[in-house]
Symmetry: C2
Subunit: 397 residues, 2 copies
């Protein structure tokens, strides 16, 4: 039985495991270096520690982005694969090879995400990531154990330095992976270009995110427009737009069309994904998410939820919210009261409506893309199923 | 009169100015973003500040690396250009176009250098670079002026965050520049691959440099082998090896030969360049270099000079050196005494001899390359002149 005939969820598991294995292999291949050329054993050991951390930091992702790339490819190739099955010819073999290269593009997005998260955690001074110590904290701890004479402060600074380099190494690795796969594809330069645009978009998004922290709480219009800009640049760019764009380019879609369609489907989808993530912070069960409730509130993050609540609140509540988010920190009582206001003012409901509306826009764009690409109905079914993973089930009606 | 007929130094000035202008244009092209899509004016303003800093940080380099790329191209093409002069045909025009693309590769190395220096300065917590505030310090100051309610501490942390992103943006930009130029060259994938290997080598070199700080002062063998490894990975990689390799690849040399020859010429040359830089720290006139003497000693840097001095010093002097470099800091008296020991033990002379010997290896490799590439004597003359810029005149006998 070929993979294609198995039930969808089983195929998904097999694909996810293949992606997971391949990420490790690709990082080792693109970041490895002959230890005998790295100076003394102690120096070579520090590079080995850094490489080990690259692998550890790469683990534990949900691989949503990589799975979206594969779904785009499968949506475009479904009939081809079916036709090939009977034939078992060279053509089938070459389809498999192309799919392997597409998987490398998919893995490259995941490697890039890890690179971006490593730098994000340094910028935000975060201790934890995916339930484990963040990369720079883990590296600081490794250095403290490796060199018996270092002070905790020196170890922390060395962890930060190694963390910046680890992010750089993984970012370089991600482009190397794409260059390898793209060199075997028809318009390789367009694929590399799209991948680098994605890098740049996320980097711009992180600059905007840093800038948005200083926004005046009286200006809810700016607050909302900044949040949505950050969603577009820092999240949608690599979460939904780039996976769709790279998937289409790999299938030979011209780069103008690939760009237009991926933005039409991916921008509302990625925005809805981030809105849902912000909503999770005030609605979710900590036992399920593994994160304490109200983390964004504690950090004083300027969210769409906050802008909506400020607009809908009465004078007293609005004044409290402004005071609360201008303060240096927020305690448990604040978190509880803010969450109550997010619900009471209708801000939570407003975000749910936004998500539903954005999801509708994405589905329409999928249908339009199907027509533009002259694909059968099955294209829309496969794409809609893949995109639906980014939206909470109860908001997908 | 065509450029080729002008005196060499005039052509060099024209080329250097062309490189300088092109770097600015390329950064604007690859990092620009439509301000209307960046959220509020305040957020768009922070991105504009970041981009302005990208341009400021790019200024003031000596462009030695870019000039080496152009020299390799000219060494390979000299006769072609001369033949074309009389003809004034399509062929001459297409040669000019290729030279423009090669200049973009040259600029990309300079943009990458700026990216690496921005991250280096964050890691080393450096205040100054090329006589101006380092990028993260300048961005912190800009943020302090832009937002009237931020504390100095917050501004510093924001400057650090924006600095990490600026380095990421410039690193991405450098690859975009190469992708644009390489897509018009015969083996574009090999050119991109070499450029990414250069990124990786420098990142590995920075990890080794961080690790080398913790080396035991009793182990001079490790100290020397670490220093030489850092020279190879962090300096020679992008200073001499990559410029030669990219120049050869752009001229159609196969990637195996380009790699072999660039490493044979570039490894000793880049190592000698860094040894000379370390020597400058203890021998140069601060009025000429613009740097205070003994900066490396003050930082406690483990150099080849220090390893050589420790090996040649008597017991008392060696004990003093170890005590001095193990201490948290070194004062003016220490700097004077260490410099005297570097001279007195013969370590300075030993470094001068190392440089002369490495320069001889480089020249031999240039001559071997000339034969391997079947080029006329002129190839060796042009290459030797270009490589000589990396070595102090008095050590080039």
């Amino acid at each position: 039985m070929t993979v294609i005939n198995r039930p969808a969820d089983e195929r998904e598991t097999i694909e996810r495991e293949a992606i997971e294995r391949r990420i490790g292999t690709l990082i080792r291949e693109t970041c490895g270096a002959d230890p005998s050329l790295l100076g003394s054993d102690a120096c070579a050991g520090v590079y080995a520690d850094t490489l080990r951390q690259a692998l550890t930091s790469s683990e534990g992702g949900k691989r949503l982005r990589a799975m979206l790339v594969m779904a785009v490819f499968d949506a475009m190739h479904d009939e081809t694969l079916r036709d090939d099955e009977g034939a078992g010819t060279d053509e089938a073999a070459s389809t498999r090879t192309l799919r392997d290269d597409v998987r490398d593009l998919a893995c490259a997005i995941e490697v890039f995400q890890t690179a971006a998260l490593v730098h994000d955690d340094i910028i935000d001074d975060s201790d934890m990531r995916r339930g484990r110590p963040s990369a720079h904290r883990a590296l600081a701890e490794t250095m403290r154990r490796s060199f018996d004479d270092v002070s905790p402060r020196f170890a922390a600074s060395m962890g930060g330095g190694l963390g910046i380099m680890l992010g750089d190494l993984l970012a370089t690795s991600s482009v190397s992976i794409v260059n390898g796969a793209a060199s075997r594809m028809p318009d390789g330069a367009a694929i590399i270009d799209s991948f680098l645009l994605m890098h740049r978009d996320v980097e711009i998004g992180q600059v905007l995110d840093l800038a948005a922290e200083r926004i005046d709480l009286n200006d809810t219009t700016s607050m909302r427009s900044n949040s949505l800009a950050v969603f577009r640049w820092k999240t949608a760019s690599y979460t939904t737009i780039a996976p769709i764009r790279l998937g289409l380019l790999a299938c030979g879609v011209d780069h103008y069309t690939a760009r237009r369609l991926s933005e039409r489907i991916g921008t509302p989808l990625g925005t809805a994904f981030q809105l849902a993530d912000d909503l999770l912070d005030v609605c979710a069960d900590p036992a399920v998410t593994g994160k304490p409730v109200g983390g964004d509130i504690r950090e004083g993050k300027r969210t769409v939820l906050l802008a909506d609540a400020l607009d809908a609140a009465g004078d007293d509540d609005a004044a409290y919210l402004r005071r609360c988010f201008e303060a240096a920190g927020r305690d448990d009582d604040d978190v509880r009261r803010v969450i109550a206001l997010f619900h009471g003012t209708g801000a939570v409901q407003r975000s749910r409506e936004r998500i539903t509306d954005l999801w509708r826009q994405s589905r329409e764009a999928i249908e339009d893309s199907r027509r533009a690409l002259r694909r059968p109905d099955r294209f829309a079914t496969v794409m809609t199923d893949a995109c639906a993973r980014f939206i909470p089930a109860d908001l997908r009606d």
